[in-house]
Each structure stands twice: as structure tokens, then as C-alpha cells.
Subunit: 247 residues, 2 copies
Amino acid sequence: MTVIEKVQKGLSVANTKKREPSHTTISRTLGVAIVTGEFEPGSVLPGEIEIAESYSVSRSVVREALRMLSARGLIESKPKIGTRVRARELWNLLDPTLLEWMFEAAPPPHFVRSLFELRLIVEPAAAELAARKKTARQLASMGHALEEMAKHTLSKPEGQLADQEFHAAILEATDNEMLVSLSASIGAAVRWTTYFKFRNNKKPHDPIEEHRALFEAIADGDGERARAVTIKLIEQAERDTQRVLEQ
Amino acid sequence: MTVIEKVQKGLSVANTKKREPSHTTISRTLGVAIVTGEFEPGSVLPGEIEIAESYSVSRSVVREALRMLSARGLIESKPKIGTRVRARELWNLLDPTLLEWMFEAAPPPHFVRSLFELRLIVEPAAAELAARKKTARQLASMGHALEEMAKHTLSKPEGQLADQEFHAAILEATDNEMLVSLSASIGAAVRWTTYFKFRNNKKPHDPIEEHRALFEAIADGDGERARAVTIKLIEQAERDTQRVLEQ
DNA sequence: ATACTTATATTCTCCGACAAAAAACACGCG
DNA sequence: CGCGTGTTTTTTGTCGGAGAATATAAGTAT
């Protein structure tokens, strides 16, 4: 598995289960609170000392956590003013970490709509590119992922992992590093929708046949067909997701 | 202050005249060094104390700067190991700040190719969406930006600002917040190419007519035409950029 | 009422010390 | 010699305290 594939799947590159430093924890805790709307844009967070006391850490830890949030554009600090949450338009909604945080709660419907609209723009074009630029090695890696997927189905974690591997191989085949970054972000969101679809026992459509068709289109170098199949795949996923969100 | 910074300052929001905290400065300095390849991925940066001494700041400032870089996924710190630069595949190439840093030096050709490939995927689709979803207010804002652009031409900062306003209005009209984020990233890169095209006195093609055609297509709600014009626009920009990079 | 000065709250910066982690090393044992 | 085991050492992680800088808020004089 290449590093790129791991990125796509959101796996930590060193799969070790190490304890993270506390500034990371605090940063994520505050970040989740912000992106899920617990602190509204424009409002000011508690002062450094108060945060430090409420989490029982030192002020240095809090400051480093706040720097991590300000690097993401979530907050803005000024003396005498405090640390205020920046307007949502100033966030980078394509930051994979931000997306993960966002999915700690149910995201707003217009956000889900935006996501699928974006997928319908990007992924068909990527499939078309992949059909043109694929290498034999990448094709083999797609084929392997496809087999794994057929064996386990999407309801099991192994199958979901294979699905992500399959799509990662497609992205790698486009030979476009910005597309890879973009789909790393999208992947963070897709993982969430997949998770929710199966968590609610809704028995969604198993897209193995479409995946096979996509693979064959790419293998044949038929960009038009690859594009068409990808569109179908995403529209199906959107229907499944809508069904879950409606209740 | 570097030239690029001047350009960006001229184009960004007006009164950004205040001195930034030193952790921000250090973070950007180190970040630029990393993304321009001065520190290669996998290598370890100097220790916190060494960095602190070389910039004449305290270790706390350096630590906060490093946390900002680690939030961007550029570095990874471990006790006894040091702080090492993470693999380029783990960076988020759609982070606008990262892109700005990257353009402090001439970016690698395959990166520029990736960028225009991505623009050709995203922007035509966005134009089509905008043609379908535009509101009167957004249309008016596009019209105003177009006038400004025609008055000043792209060779002056006012004209470049108007150009950005025009495209921002289109993005806003798509009513898709992820698309807006995406083009904020792309915009950071586009500003660079615009700057370089004029810096080299190459007298590129002035795209005012195409912009007007795009505006009319959107106003008419003609998505197909909006898409076609946008493709032309980007292809022209790519040709201009290639001409500049060739020398 | 306006302009200027002062007070105040908050972040910004610095320092010095110790704790924790992980690699490197030394050592003993089979 | 090879191998596990404990020790050393280096580097980041955490802490508490102190003063400086900054921008709002309040007060004062004209």
C-alpha cells in the first residue's frame, strides 16, 4: 500500500497506537466544539487561563492548541479582545481534519448537498482522466481491491477498506497531486456517509456491479463510459444518504 | 518583504497594517522553507532551541510556530526523534496558505499542470451551476466587477482585483460552500500566475471579451455556453502561463 | 461634544525547570 | 557471537510565573 493510498483511506501512516500530546487533544476538542456550532462564529472563546483550568492543563498547552486552530483559520486572537471564532466563509471546508470534526455531529443538509454536488463534478472527471492515464500497476491494484470488495461486501469494514483502496487507486492513476489532495478531503466525508448508512441498518444498494463496470471502462481506456458509470455510482450513494438523513 | 507578499498584500483586504505576532512570522518562514524544498521530506529540522536561537526568539514562540505547521500536516514531532518533515503526499495541497508559500519559489512544472487540469474540471462546472442558480444581486455584482475590469485592464492591480471579484461572484452564485472553499485555494495559485505573467512583460491576451461573454451566458442562464467560455478562458491562461515558464 | 489621557483586560513573549518518550548504548547471559 | 535487558541520553512535552504589548473602555480637559 502506497502512502497515497493510506492518505485516501485516512489511515495513520504508522499504524501505532500512541498517545497523542495534550495540545492535540485540546485542539481537537475545541475544534469540534467550534465546527459543530457550540461556539458560534463571531463569539469569543473563554480566555486562555479559563480554558487551561477547565481542562486541567497549563496555559502553554492551551496556547499551542489555539495556534493549531488559528492555523486552520478557525479563530483569531487579539490582545484585549480575546479569541474569537472567525466567520464560516473563512474556514477551509476542504481541510480533511475539519471535515472529520464536522462529522462528529450531523452536518447541515445544505452541506451534504454541496458535498455531493462537488463529487459529481470532480469524480467523473477523475475517472475519465484515470482511464486515459492509468498504468498497468495501478490497474492491477484496482483489480485486487475489486476482488476484496466483492468478497466482503460493503457492510464489513474489510469491504469498506477495499472500496477506499479502489477509489484511491483511481485517483493515483490520474497522476494529479491536487486531485489526490481534493479526494483525501472528500474521502473524509464519504467515510462518514458510509458509516451512517450501515449504522442505520438501511441495507443500501450494494454497488459492486457498478464498480466492476467502472473498472472495466478504465481498463479499456474508455473515458466516456468511466465518467457515466461514476455519475451513476455517486447518484446512487446520494439517494442512499438522503434516505438515511430523512429520518 | 518579498515581492509576492507585496502583491498579495495589495490584493487582500485593506488595512492589514498591523504587526503580526512573531510565532506567525516564524511559522511562515519555516513553512516556506519546507514547501519550497529547503528542508526535504523525511529530514529533521533543527531542534527547538537551535531554531529559537537562530531567530532570536524564545522556545515558546518556536513551539507555537511548529504547532501551526503540524496542524497543516507539514511536520511531525516526537521526543528523542526531533521534528521531521512529512511526506509531500500527506500535505493538503488545497490549503490556500500552503499554496501561497509554495509560490514563493517557482513551483515544479507537474504542479502547474495539475493545477490547470483541476481548474478545467472545476471552473467550467461551477460556471454552469452559476448560470442555473444565480440571483439578481449576484448578477449585479458580476456586472459591476466586469465594468471595473474593462476600465482598468488586467495589468493594473485594480483590474486584477475586479477579476477576482468577478470570479468570486460566480462562485457565490453556485450556492455551494465547498466549491467556494475550493476556489479560494485555486485563487491563491491564480494570483501567482497572473502576477508572473505581467511581471515578465509578456503582454498576455486580455481576456475582457471572454469575460463579457461568460457574464452574458450566465445572465441568460445558458449553462452550456458558460461552460464552453470558461474552458476557453482557462486554456488561454494556461497558454500564457506556459509561455512565461518556458524562459 | 470632541480630543486627549489613563485604566484595564487580554494576548504575546520570555524564562527556567522538570517529566516523558524513544532511540542508542552497555551489559550480561546463553 | 547473538540476543534480550536495563541504563543513558537526547529531544520534545508540560508546567508556572513574570513582564511587555495592544486595543478597548473609561475618564478628563478643552
